[in-house]
Amino acid sequence: MKTLLIKTLSIIALLASAALHAQDAPLRVGMSGQYFPFTFVEQDELKGFEVDVMNALGEEMGREIQYQTANFSGLFGMLESGRIDTVANQITITEERQKAYIFSEPYVYDGAQVVTREGNTEVEGVEDLKGKTVAVNLGSNFEALLRELPYADEINIKTYESNLERDTALGRVDAFVMDRVSASQIIKDKPLPLELAGPTFSQITNAYPFRDTETGRALRDELNQALTSLRDNGTLASISEKWFGTDITQP
């Protein structure tokens, strides 16, 4: 009789928690939809590594994921003004961003990579950028990385909202700097005459930023838990293999 009661109670509790879980507000995730192969659109369908990882996280957390696309320059404004809960757009953890936001555990480990037009022998690594025009995405972390170089004054940095790989291929700029993974992907998949120039020059870790508020911290902790499960059960690695042919989710 007693065990029956306990069983009944625990089933009720389980159902209740499941019901509560289902009632959890959807996680609102911002992304640019313009960062191949992390987030992009094909025939009206939002796709990419970020989308796959976020969907898996949502499933793990029992939350629906609501995607909100906007130009990159608008994403942090949306986060700041509470219109989204986090940004899934390869956001690199930096000191400055850490002052304003709290971050989840990193889910991508990568490095900054110089990319030039195919056959460019003048730029064969980051040390050759002296006196050159280099494109970076507006608001991305790569501009700060370039400015940290000892010869930063001699680099002409040009910021782009989008299409910087195209301008590099056209020869309008000498090189662009992007993360190695997506640079390799662009070169592999797209018909643009580009090549990697030298090794990566700075390790970066990417994570999800949240507002530093009570709800923000709670969401961050919840997501961290889901992230650990996905890492342990191999889901993260397999999503990475699918998109990049290599596991970028490990250091």
């Binding site: 191949f36 659109v41 025939q43 906007a70 320059s73 608008g74 404004g77 219109r83 195209r166």
Partner: protein, 224 residues
């Protein structure tokens, strides 16, 4: 790569067409609201109503003197920072607010010019038979001014349709935002943006036809 990927372009047409209604909605609602606001401003300015006149001058000065994109950022990201409840302003609303205020400032001046263009003797005649200011405006001046203002107002409407392409910065996926994302997925920028450009062009061309028709109608009283 060297040749235009026509197949891709054709495949993109139905996708992008799906976002055209939102573009038209942003511009259409923006235009109606901007027209109402602009008429009020113009009347206030012409009649020189104290206090309102000065406020209108400041409003026009600000919204004509700052870029639309700055205004959109102010409405969408700035206001919620001051008053957190204003987060309820979504991207579509903020875009319409921005378009309305920005273009009403321009249109107010063009309507004011049209009102001033109505011969002074018409005003004197109306006042001499005892019309009030409001009657004078509604029955005599505005109908005549409309005909003069129409071409420039259509100009602003056309400009407004194209200005909606800024909305993706506020997370509103309209025609331009959809095109940007599709282009990012295919890397076929030229093809994608050509499709978008032709869509904008066709819409504007249809408006030009409408303008022509309206001009003929409004000119009926003047043709002999």
């Amino acid at each position: 790569m060297d040749v235009l990927n026509v197949e891709y372009m054709l495949g993109l047409v139905p996708v992008l067409l799906g976002y055209l209604p939102l573009t038209l909605q942003l511009a259409g609602v923006g235009m109606v609201l901007a027209l109402i606001l602009a008429c009020l401003f113009a009347v206030v300015r012409v009649l020189g109503i104290p206090v309102l006149n000065q406020l209108t001058i400041v409003f026009i000065s600000f919204f004509r003197g700052t870029p639309l994109l700055v205004q959109l950022f102010l409405f969408y990201y700035g206001l919620p920072q001051l008053v957190s409840a204003l987060t309820v302003i979504d991207g579509v609303t903020a875009t319409i607010m921005g378009l309305t205020m920005h273009f009403s400032a321009y249109m107010a001046e063009s309507i004011r010019a049209a009102i001033l263009g109505v011969d002074r003797s018409q005003t004197e005649a109306a006042l001499s038979i005892g019309m009030t200011n409001s009657q004078l405006m509604r029955r005599i001046v505005l109908p005549q001014a409309t005909r003069v203002a129409l071409p420039t107002l259509m100009n602003y409407f056309i400009d407004m349709i194209k200005a909606t392409s800024l909305a993706f910065t506020l997370g509103v996926t309209e025609l331009m935002g959809a095109t940007q994302k599709e282009a990012a997925g295919s890397f076929l920028y030229f093809e994608a943006f050509i499709v978008a450009a032709v869509m904008y062009w066709i819409v504007v061309e249809m408006l030009s036809k409408l303008q022509h028709y309206l001009e003929i109608r409004l000119n009926k009283a003047y043709s002999r």
